[in-house]
Symmetry: D3
Subunit: 291 residues, 6 copies
């Protein structure tokens, strides 16, 4: 029987972007409405949809080989896992998830030390516990099933919650005391799986492809023609991140330049390229960049 890699994907808000990223990387995962195990077009994969919160636990217990989940949920299992790559994508934006310790605007609590002996509600009991342990503070942590931000000050003294822009915190008249963690998804492997050579190589190939896709996001290809003598001036303008591919054109004294740039520098770079003599500048989309 052929080898299999048991991989966990995060069910919930990260599910759709994760499956889209895998698809872009060449792994088509088919989920089922009826709660069955997903299938894929890679027969070497055994895929489990597991809540992001639980992937670390099952990796540590050794029931699965590897998984994609947020650093936040894996944090408390950190010592038992191999962190193969940070994959900086997320549900909607490219911003990381940020866990913050929050109190009412007019609360006497100013620092984490003021929490000693208080009550905290949070969906992230493990994250909060690890943080308090590091700070040497002892408080009662209560699991919150949601709607956490309306619990202070009536039901608890402080909460630990996820924030994106901070605007919901201001709207609820709350104040951030400290940031516990900022978190992107990572590709984690269990210790045992890493010792198996076949599994290790399989995981590394997946990581290579996933990183190639993320690398291509926010980047574009740029092609232009240039008098050969203007080349040094052009090279100075180009960001050094990848050396451009330069080839001679049929027209004597001209070269074609093909390079990769960050989409966000295009608006300042392209007008400058014209100034040094570039012609026929075109920008085209990319889908993977292997580093």
């Amino acid at each position: 029987m052929s080898q299999k890699l048991k991989i966990a994907l995060p069910k919930g808000s990260l599910q759709e972007p994760t499956i889209k990223l895998l698809k872009q990387a060449g792994y088509n995962v088919y989920t089922s409405d009826r709660g069955l195990r997903p299938s894929s077009d890679d027969s070497e994969l055994d895929i489990y949809m597991i809540r992001a919160q639980e992937i670390g636990r099952y990796l540590e217990q050794g029931f699965i080989d590897c998984g994609i989940t947020g650093l936040d949920w894996a944090w408390e299992h950190e010592d038992a896992l191999e962190d193969l790559a940070e994959l900086p994508y997320s549900r909607a934006t490219v911003r990381p998830t940020k866990w913050v310790l929050v109190v009412p605007e007019d609360s006497p609590i100013k620092t984490v030390e003021d929490l000693e002996g208080k009550r905290i509600a949070t969906e992230g009991v493990g994250i909060t516990q690890r943080y308090l342990d590091q700070k040497g503070v002892s408080a009662k942590i209560e699991f919150s099933w949601g709607a956490t931000e309306v619990k202070v000050p009536d039901l608890v003294d402080a909460i630990v919650d996820v924030t994106e822009t901070g605007s919901s915190i201001r709207a609820n008249k709350l104040r951030i005391v400290d940031t516990l963690l900022t978190s992107f998804p990572h590709f984690y492997a269990g210790k045992e799986a890493c010792k198996n050579e076949w599994k290790r190589e399989k995981m590394e190939r997946m990581v290579l492809m996933l990183k190639a896709c993320i690398e291509a996001r926010g980047k574009v290809g740029l092609k232009l023609n240039l008098p050969e003598k203007a080349l040094p001036e052009l090279l100075e303008l180009l960001p050094s991140l990848h050396g451009p591919t330069v080839s001679h054109l049929a027209t004597e004294g001209w070269v074609a330049v093909d390079t990769i740039i960050e989409e966000k520098v295009a608006r300042s770079l392209i007008p400058d390229l014209k100034l040094v003599g570039a012609e026929g500048i075109i920008e085209y989309p990319l889908s993977k960049i292997v580093q």
Copy 2:
């Protein structure tokens, strides 16, 4: 300052039907997008939206006076609460929520006793613990954040989950070992709040109105005219649940009958009413029935 009753409503899947029921009962609750406390047109109410799972806890701790939540989530706090009324409504249908102990079809586990020393995943840790305690069985209960039904047999030995029709259980090739609980929403009060006379009466009035609305669901009004002498025969046909209102018509020897019947008996009752001489039978909708 005027008295206030602190009431918790269940945030989540029961939120919309609960607010609809309160509106029908005459209490308009306005929720806010921005996570603020809901307001209402009854200035004596202080409303908290709290997850159904947590209402029992905060009632027991005395932070709130009363609340509507499922019997299942309040079960472990039962001894500390007053159960003022069962309110048999639910998210979509009128069926109660049913918690079942489930294993793979081909599992050796046949009875709850076989779980001794095994691992169980469930969203209802408290419910499962109370059930195992009653059965005198000791097992490891693991909190599951969801997608519980795909965890057996790879990750755990058994699960405790909610089922509606059992069809998802069959689709996943699982088997029900036992039913822990069937559960409707209830109106619970804290012990302290019950000792306050004003709060007690306020809660009883709310319960009266809520029950009047539920009573009216699935019932209709029926009016008909009848020769007075056929009245005994008619009364035999009518279900005894409410005595009909009989009044004399201007036409000598005829009476008007106005009664309430269950909608589902209409299809067999109405043809029979015609047979005993009823005329001008009309059915009309009701919105409350006070018992």
Copy 3:
């Protein structure tokens, strides 16, 4: 084993309004997404979802006992069926379906006789054949899978199609030559089923309830108080369709009148009622009227 009535309901555009009508009549039918047979809360019914076009065929073949389908599709099986009731409801409006013979505006075809030897496209081959037979005309009838109205004049000489308002006919620059049929849903029974007494009574009770629901659509209840002496004047104003229920009030010389009127006459009737002295006029909704 208990008796069963095999009933066919029309799958397609009539499905939803038919199931809604049955529900109103007290028969809750539950359809399944997975193509299975529908279930219901009446254990004496065996329900089949069959395309409206085919119900007549299977009734004639005796595979089912009764069914609801349009007169149009049952037309060619008319002699083999019992027509228990016309049920004037439809998908969106209360207008019947109208089948028309249509040609291009500038076609030389003026009457059905001009079709002799021509080619006609239609989704209703049976309807068209029966119509041509009655007219003694012989033409080639071609089954059309849809988009029939764009086939003239390029692909066929005439079409037979359903129209609602005629506006699509004008938009396509077509002309109506003749109307073949106007059609509402009917409740049909097979000849054999009618001979079975239990089935016959079961069908008659269903028809009674279905008609009571349709009768109530577009009608409302009206209650008012009136000086007794103004009663004759009032009775003249009221449409004769149902005699009103008149009862004496506790206040000497006054009567309460309760009656049913068509919703669409309310706007002219109610102002007149005030003129003859009616007070406390209120209008209320009805759900069934048994005739």
Copy 4:
């Protein structure tokens, strides 16, 4: 040829609730997607869909006989129109539209007088002009096509805008200086149309029906049985707005009471009714109440 009443309905946000109200009152209006004049089932009506802002202008010019539009938009034409009825409905809630004069929180403008010589942006140029004229203030009023609230203080000194809850005003850090007007829809007639007896009566009948529908909103019917001797006590409890209909029951010494109450008092009234001995209390919906 028969008489016609030319009536304008407000196109825009009031369109849907206006057509719904007319339908409830017995006038079915059919609008067309293709921009054509609406039709109706009352052949005596000629219906025009005109923007709420323009109905007053065309009524004053005499092109139409009557129309439904907000008091705000008709205000500047007030002297040329007959105001037949206020119809307190609106797009979403039952709150009136409120026009306010608004400046930045930190603006030196404190009263309307401070606007002398300043620049104001508003969608309601006529409303603002009439208001300033009444106050004897002269300022430059600039028509605003929308997004008015972001114009202060960069582009203008003050704005006149519609507010519902004031929350958008606070979110934009603005301050209300004065309220110009609160406005519900009204039924207006032109002076000429009122002189025509047929048109006058037609309009009055429409107004009677429209008011009967609005009156029924937020009210319900209540029926109960009562020992006759408890009647005085009951009558004291009932709000005086409509005398209840009392009739004798077949059971000696008992009366049936049928009355109308406001939905929002039900929650306090019904528990009290039980206390005085009422039985079989049921609440039922109403669709029109004629006063």
Copy 5:
């Protein structure tokens, strides 16, 4: 007057993907809501939207020159048509439509021969007839308007239906006896149209463009830089399907390679390319590949 090619496009589930494919190929087709003939930006085309089932018939009758429709529906007209190209696209996936002969799981029918004298319901009467003729079996074929899979065994003995994954067949407890046909869309021409040189060339150009688009789906461009001496090793890795374009870079001893690969091999190919020394590997999207 200029020449015109009469082309039929399939109305129904294939309509949208067909119009999208034509657009990608450079032919913009504009359909109208009002049932009119579609227009396009190619004035040499006369476009007809015809149900996929009927295109074969009208091609055979010579009313149109060419058309895109499924092999299944054209099958019975095969001898009268020229099959210019298979176009392997479909509504949702790239899988072909599969027609199967199906019976209840427990039916005695095991092979097509067992159907002799039985009754079969199907939407594809022509397909089924041609198949039975080839097998030398005689059975009664009944046209089914839909919901075919619920007809066995109550109404017919077997059905012929389309299946995608077979899951609906299992859910209905049915069994596949034989596969009649797997079918993709094809570009068909009528015999007469093929004899006209202008039409023939026009059709061949369309087919060239349509195939170029389908060829590009599921393929991507790949560019990389490589030490010239590693070229032989690289060429061995690359699938032979298209020879890569190799050009010299300005940097001595290095070449740029530009090639096309199937998207689904990228995940195994790219890691290997790195191993032979490729640098700056980027993947980019393609829209057409002309073979």
Copy 6:
């Protein structure tokens, strides 16, 4: 403090395509639900969302430096603005907005001169006034809040309105008398802003990038390999708009050609390219073309 460019973007139907175009050009604009000023990732921009109709006014008054709005709405401010570029994009299609003078089909008005002394309703009072002034015609222009096309002939004599396809004009039985203006969005600058060197250069860079994006719409890249000797023949076929990039392949006697073509000529060009010997023709998407 750093320099800022105040730029106005058109709120309303152009908002979404404008923000999408800016994003493609490298300027990410973030709008807020709460009516606040938009932010962007270019800290040198101060962005105002202003209705397209008002941008010209505020540019002329000098409150903002530059803006994107339709030629139509800026027309009356033309003399006070600098027109930096036409940007031929629009809400849905690439067609410009067309303003037409319209009358009922049977109106006696045949030319603009016939409007002398008549009444015209229009949303574009400024546009219409400027047009009438140029024609030397004097008429009463009435601001219309919408639904303009139903106002003739009952309420006004003529209207000036926007048309896309003319189909709504025909459906309303109207006739076009004259076209006032066809209009695309433009990038306008105020006179003062143009005198500031920093602002001028900033605006020119933005215009360069915006035009590069629009240029790329409807164009594609084309790559092919060719025997060198066939190059002259190929160059004749290629549209002259951009000279192709020609480079030598590693294979002796072959060149690679990379060029840009209009998407709409591909369908006629590609088959011809094959005829002159091109191989490996692939088409790929572009995102910017700098001219």
